[in-house]
Each structure stands twice: as structure tokens, then as C-alpha cells.
């Protein structure tokens, strides 16, 4: 039983906001000495004065709530994109480079021209390579954004925004631990899938609006493929709902946080992958791989025949958005697999420290969750760099003729397990 590092994101943000408000309030009081009308405003912000004047607590004011939400969302977005997206890209590029017997990216802080600690004999391009993706992003920002003359300009510009925003929407409902989340929705998983399936619409719009044959074929492929893979994915989740009885990710993870079988000190956790859901887990993982457009299933942008598929006509940061956000979708997909089947953030905590009376777990839930996400992603990366790309008709065959029957089978197995009492709901 582990504990989260951030017990409540909203609460943390509220404390942060109130602290900032207190500082502003002190400034306002100081200014009120010079400009007397400001006293009312300063009192409005002052919790002590509010209590005296019979007003409610400051935290319940709409303005403060809004600002708190804004900060919570910003923290999640920065956490997902600036930290995890960059790390995931770095992990992928480093990992497949090693598979291919080469070093891979090497730009690091030592390569910066103004870094003061460079020694003369140290080669500047022999670092870990973490800054390479940032350098790529800066490069893409500097590049010209070209809109093809015959493109449908509005649609062409909307689709990267649609793809990027729908991907970020996933993280509104995706918890990172039992405390580190923006919104705790009862239908969180459903919301995440809805956000996931908005992107194919964006891809189709992008393919059609660029008025290019490669993008058109790529967009149509994306529409055909993602439809064929979304159905088995949803069906396997339906099989899972037989067991969970809930679509709330927090509930689902809590259900898995108990031992299934114990052998003395060691125990197998009650993750759904160890339950009769194993078939659903396989179907879900394969469909998720298609949803991420990773290599055996990356026909919408098959660069060998379609140049770059539906992203062909994008340039500059618009290309960066549609290209880079694939890793964000990969993080979200891996997180979903972890939550639904691999116990989410549950894991053993070894020691809990007490820092100023606040218990701080030495291996918090977030660490377990990140570990699972990155391990799942590495498996995906490994697969995608060791197999060729599958053809469109074969992909559709796998989707319609294999995965959908399997997912229906998973539903039957789950229903039978519940009906026979082999496994109890929740």
C-alpha cells in the first residue's frame, strides 16, 4: 500500500494560490496607506478581515477557484508535455539507437555554447542527449510555416490544434496517482476514450484539407485503421467493466491494490492482467499500439510509400505538434494500460519518512506509475523497431477478423467468470 507524493493536487494548488494572494494582500495594504480606496480590496483578499466582516472563506470565491483550477491544469500540462513528453522522446530515441548499434542523440548541456564548465578537451557532443529534443523544437519553431496554395486553409490550420488539444484533454481525466489528478470523473475512462478518438477526425481533416494525394491516402488509411482498432479496444474495456463495475480510474486501481495469492512474504497482486482478463489485455495492448500509430501499424504515415502520410504538408512547429504529440498519446496509452490491467500506481512502499509531521513515502505512487508507464512504452518501442510495417489490408484483417472476435470472447469469458462466481465484482 503506497501513498501519493501529492495527496491532493487541487489542495496543493489552493495553498499555493492563497500564499500568493497573501503576498499580494500585503502589497495592497502597503499601497492602501497611499491610496485609501484600495483598503476595501485589500480587506476582500484578507482572510482575517473577511471573517470579521462576515464573508465566507476566501477559497470558496469564484475567482480564487478559477485561478486554482488554472494552476492545476497548467501543472498537469507542464508535467505531461515538458517533462514526460521530452523524457519519452529521449527514451525512445536513445533506446532504438542502442538497438541499432549506435549512440543516438548526444546533445546535452555540455553542448550549449554558454555553458561555463566545458573543458577544452571534452567533446561537446558526447552527452546524454536530453537536450536534443529541445534543440529540435527550437529549430521547428524557427522554421517557416508553409500552407499549400490549394489547401483548405482553415481546415488545414485547425487540424493540428484539434489533434493537440484532444490529446491534452486526455490528461484532464488521467490520474497520475490517487492524488495527482485534475478531475476525478466517475466516467473517467469513457472520457479518455472519447478524447482519444477525436484525433482520427483531425487526421482525416488534415489528410483531406492539404489537397495532396499522399495526405489524402494517409488520411483515409487513418480513418479505416483507427475505426477498425477502436472497436476491439472499447469491447475489451467492456469486458473489464464486468469485473470493475466502474469506469472511474481511481476505483479501478483501488480494486487491484490487494494481493491475489500470497506465498509468505511474496504475493501476486490482484492486477487484472492476472485475472481472466488476459485476453482482453492482449487485445487492448495491440489496439493501443495501432491507436498510437507505432511501426507495425503506422500505415497512415508510412514514409516509404506516402512520403510522410497525412503529415506531409505540415512544416515548422505545426509539424512539430502533430509529430511530437504522438509521444504524448503513447504516454496516455501506456498509462491506460497500466491503470486498467497492471495495477496503476499501486505498489509496495518501503519506508515512509516524516517531514515536519507530513508523511512522505520514499517510493511514492507516482514513482510506481511512471515506472510502469515507461516500461510499457519501452516494450512498445522495442516491438516497433524490430518488425516491418504491416500492409493496410492485413491491418484491417487483423483488426476486424482477429481482434474483434477475441474481444467478444473476452466479454464472454468475463461474463462467465462473474456469473460462475469465480471472480466477484469490485
Amino acid at each position: 500500500m503506497s501513498a501519493p507524493l501529492i495527496p491532493n493536487l487541487f489542495g496543493v494548488c489552493e495553498v499555493l494560490v492563497l500564499a500568493i494572494v497573501w503576498i499580494i494582500d500585503q502589497i495592497l495594504y502597503a499601497l492602501a496607506g497611499l491610496i485609501p480606496p484600495l483598503t476595501g480590496l485589500a480587506q476582500w483578499f484578507d482572510p482575517v478581515a473577511r471573517r470579521r466582516l462576515g464573508m465566507g472563506p476566501l477559497g470558496s470565491e469564484l475567482l480564487i477557484v478559477l485561478v486554482t483550477w488554472l494552476i492545476a491544469v497548467t501543472i498537469i500540462v507542464i508535467w505531461a508535455t515538458l517533462i514526460n513528453l521530452l523524457t519519452m522522446m529521449w527514451v525512445e530515441r536513445k533506446f532504438y539507437s542502442r538497438l541499432q548499434d549506435r549512440y543516438g542523440i548526444m546533445i546535452s548541456i555540455w553542448s550549449l555554447p554558454f555553458w561555463p564548465f566545458n573543458r577544452a578537451h571534452r567533446p561537446t557532443h558526447r552527452g546524454t542527449g536530453y537536450l536534443q529534443n529541445i534543440a529540435d523544437g527550437v529549430k521547428l519553431l524557427q522554421k517557416e510555416n508553409i500552407t499549400p496554395r490549394n489547401a483548405d486553409s482553415a481546415m488545414f490550420h485547425i487540424s493540428p490544434v484539434l489533434i493537440a488539444s484532444s490529446t491534452l484533454m486526455i490528461f484532464a481525466a488521467l490520474p497520475w496517482s490517487s492524488g495527482f489528478y485534475v478531475a476525478n470523473l466517475d466516467l473517467g475512462i469513457l472520457f479518455i476514450f472519447a478524447a482519444f478518438s477525436l484525433a482520427p477526425l483531425g487526421i482525416l481533416i488534415a489528410g483531406w484539407s492539404a489537397n495532396n494525394k499522399y495526405t489524402l491516402v494517409g488520411g483515409l488509411r487513418a480513418a479505416a485503421m483507427l475505426m477498425a482498432y477502436e472497436i476491439p479496444m472499447i469491447l475489451s474495456v467492456i469486458a473489464l467493466v464486468f469485473f470493475t463495475g466502474s469506469l472511474n480510474p481511481l476505483t479501478i486501481v483501488r480494486q487491484q491494490d490487494r494481493p491475489l495469492v500470497s506465498f509468505g512474504a511474496l504475493s501476486i497482486p490482484a492486477w487484472y492482467v492476472f485475472s481472466p482478463q488476459i485476453l482482453g489485455f492482449i487485445v487492448f495492448s495491440v489496439s493501443m499500439m495501432a491507436e498510437m500509430e507505432r511501426i507495425p501499424f503506422d500505415i497512415p504515415e508510412a514514409e516509404a510509400e506516402l512520403v510522410e502520410g497525412w503529415t506531409t504538408e505540415y512544416s515548422g512547429m505545426r509539424f512539430g505538434l502533430v509529430f511530437g504529440f504522438k509521444w504524448l498519446r503513447m504516454i496516455a496509452g501506456a498509462a491506460l494500460i497500466a491503470i486498467l490491467y497492471l495495477g496503476g500506481w499501486s505498489g509496495p512502499v518501503f519506508v515512509t519518512l516524516s517531514v515536519g509531521g507530513v508523511p512522505v513515502p520514499i517510493v511514492p505512487e507516482e514513482a510506481w506509475f511512471l515506472l510502469k508507464i515507461y516500461l510499457i512504452s519501452i516494450v512498445f518501442i522495442w516491438i516497433s523497431w524490430s518488425v516491418p510495417r504491416v500492409r493496410i489490408d492485413q491491418i484491417l484483417n487483423i483488426g476486424w477478423k482477429k481482434l474483434i472476435p477475441y474481444s467478444l470472447g473476452a466479454i464472454i469469458i468475463a461474463a462467465a467468470a462473474i456469473a460462475s462466481g469465480l471472480w466477484s465484482v469490485g
Binding site: D101, I295, D298, A304, V387, P388, R389, V390
Partner: protein, 364 residues
């Protein structure tokens, strides 16, 4: 959706070079195809008419930079036939070693290019990694990694270096191990690879012969034609090797072409090992070639991509009167619409990659 033409080229990841394959697609199915070539035409046959016989070797090197020695060798052989001179025995053996090293390097370049065609970038880097070994050997032998200018009219430019044999054996031993393990696993034993290549791009043996398809592409149709065996040049008669012919069912598809080329990697290694064994340890490697010559000479050799034929006419000057280059890829290109029709758009890459296109020699 109506049928429409898609330009696969001239600037396209599929075309390893500068050419254009126009494909007509109905949805995803290719209904027609039309190769458009000539973007890289440099007029070699005309340029060679004003250069002396020996100096043309520099040009023939650049016919196909991936497979320079085999092309220069074909030209030198044709000129030797015209002049009526013969390379000394050691020279011939050295040529065989050089040719097979170049063939392996060329096939590895093809293998490297075929990986990304199917979406397997790992194959590219692995094959290029081992190609370095053979480029190093060629560099040891001739002094240059590419465009070696190594064959001469009447022999080769220089003798083998002292430690060449040991280096060669070491590299080949390492390479065969990689072929048997890594390449075998990532290509031949991969189920997705089979799915992508089996049964696509079929061409029957009769059609292949009629369209002038040669080399590994023809042997993949089950036709046992290897010019090293059928019309032996140099010392190939004394070497015991097995031409790689596809005998099983499903002949003429991309997988058969892949297997023929892939097995030629191993076969070429065996040829090199034999040649190192049987080669006379000393002796002249080159004879003096006359400056001027009259008459006509032709030589056809088994290039990495098929039958390379040089037809040289001399009129008594020190320059050829007319040179004709028969490029195997040029003729194979004519047959590609047959292979493409009826397959999926994604297959066009799997087919054209397996044919091994080299634009330099195709456009001359």
C-alpha cells in the same frame, strides 16, 4: 473515389535515386504503373567516345557508385576482348576477389535500403554496419572506399596488400556470423516480413525472360542462369559455387528475390574464401595494354543486379568509337509494371525495393 495517378518520385523516399514511378491507384490497389526514367542521364556513352580507353574506367566506376568495381571490370573485360589481351592469372584471381567483395557491399546496400522500404529501420543500420567491413577491405585493396578506379585494361591497378588474406578471412567470419544470426532473425524469421513480401510482385519465368529481367531477379523466378556459370569469365570456371536459384513454390515474388540476394551474400563469401585459397601467391597481376585498338569486343558479366554487357567498338584510335552499356536495371524497369499491377500501393515499395534499382546505371 475515381482512379488517380500518384507520382512515386522523383523526390520520394521509395525511389533510391532520382526516378519516377507513376502508379495509378484505385483506392489502395495499383491498376497501372509507368516508370519514368532519365533524370540522371549523363551521356556516358557519348563522353566515353572522346576519352582514352583507360581513362574511361573512371567513368564506368560512377555508373553505379554502389557497385563500381563490377562495372569497371565489365568495361575492362570488353576492351581486353577487343584488344585481344588476357589478364595474367593472379590478376584474374584478384579481380574475382574484388568483384565478390563489391557484390557483397552492393547487396548489403540493397538490404539496407530494403529495410526502411518495409518500415524496418533497424535493418538499414545493421546492414550498413557490416557494409563498412567490406568497404574497409576494398579500401585496403584499392585505396578507396567508393569509386575505386581499381580494374585496369589488362589487369588490376595494384597487387593485394600483405595482410589482405588474414583481414579478409576475419571479416568474412564475423560477417557470416551476423548473417546467420542477426539478419536471419530480423528479416527471414520475421512473420511480418513474410506477410509483406510473400506473393507480391509476381512475375513468371517466361515473362521475366521475355522482358529481359536478369540476375537475381531472374533466378528468383526459378531460372538457373548465372553468367558466372553459364558464360564463365575470369577464373569462375575453377571456382566451385552454387548459383542461388529459387526452387520452391511461389517463384518470382518479392520474397524469392529477397532470398536469392540474401543467399548470394553467403555464396560470395564462399567464393572469396576459395579464391584466396586457390590464388597463385606471386606472379604478374597486369599486362601492358596497347594504346590503340581496332575491332569490336563485348563482355557480359554477372553484375550485382543482373547481366551487365559492354559492347565496345574501336576504330584504330586510342579512344573507343562506340561504347554500349547494357544496364540490367534498365531492362528490369520495363518489367516492373507487370509486377506492380494488382498489388496494393504499399506493395509497390516492397516490390521495387526487392528489384534493387540503381539509377546511375539505369540512366547511364
Amino acid at each position: 473515389m475515381p482512379e488517380f495517378w500518384i507520382n512515386m518520385g522523383p523526390q520520394h523516399p521509395m525511389t533510391h535515386g532520382l526516378w519516377n514511378m507513376k502508379v495509378k491507384v484505385d483506392g489502395e490497389t495499383v491498376t497501372d504503373a509507368k516508370p519514368e526514367i532519365g533524370y540522371l542521364h549523363r551521356g556516358y556513352e557519348k563522353i566515353m567516345e572522346v576519352r582514352e580507353f583507360q581513362k574511361n574506367v573512371v567513368l564506368t566506376d560512377r555508373l553505379c557508385y554502389v557497385s563500381s568495381i563490377t562495372w569497371s571490370h565489365a568495361y575492362c573485360l570488353a576492351v581486353e576482348k577487343m584488344m585481344g589481351i588476357e589478364t595474367p592469372e593472379r590478376g584474374q584471381w584478384i579481380r574475382v576477389v574484388a568483384l565478390e567483395l563489391q557484390r557483397i557491399a552492393s547487396h548489403l546496400m540493397w538490404l539496407a535500403a530494403y529495410g526502411p522500404d518495409l518500415g524496418l529501420l533497424t535493418g538499414l543500420l545493421w546492414a550498413l554496419r557490416e557494409r563498412e567491413l567490406f568497404l574497409d577491405l576494398i579500401q585496403l585493396m584499392s585505396g578507396a572506399r567508393m569509386n575505386q578506379n581499381y580494374p585496369r585494361v589488362g589487369g588490376v591497378r595494384n597487387d593485394l596488400p600483405d595482410n589482405f588474406e588474414a583481414m579478409c578471412r576475419r571479416s568474412i567470419e564475423h560477417f557470416l556470423e551476423k548473417v546467420d544470426n542477426e539478419y536471419q532473425r530480423v528479416f527471414q524469421e520475421s512473420k511480418v516480413f513474410h506477410m509483406r513480401t510473400e506473393g507480391v510482385g509476381k512475375i513468371s519465368a517466361a515473362e521475366a525472360i521475355n522482358w529481359g529481367v536478369t540476375g537475381p531477379n531472374l533466378r528468383a523466378c526459378g531460372v538457373n542462369v548465372d553468367l558466372r556459370r553459364l558464360d564463365p569469365y575470369e577464373v569462375y570456371e575453377e571456382i566451385d559455387f552454387e548459383p542461388q536459384v529459387w526452387h520452391d513454390g511461389g517463384a518470382g515474388d518479392s520474397y524469392a528475390r529477397f532470398v536469392c540476394r540474401f543467399n548470394e551474400l553467403r555464396e560470395s563469401c564462399q567464393i572469396i574464401l576459395q579464391a584466396l585459397e586457390k590464388m597463385p601467391k606471386t606472379g604478374p597481376y597486369r599486362v601492358k595494354a596497347p594504346r590503340r585498338a581496332e575491332g569490336e569486343g563485348y563482355a557480359k558479366t554477372e553484375d550485382s543486379r543482373g547481366e551487365a554487357l559492354f559492347y565496345v567498338i574501336g576504330d584504330g584510335d586510342d579512344r573507343p568509337y562506340r561504347v554500349k552499356i547494357r544496364s540490367p536495371v534498365f531492362c528490369t524497369m520495363a518489367a516492373t509494371p507487370i509486377m506492380l499491377r494488382g498489388n496494393k500501393l504499399a506493395d509497390s515499395v516492397a516490390i521495387l525495393g526487392s528489384v534493387d534499382v540503381c539509377v546511375g546505371e539505369m540512366d547511364k
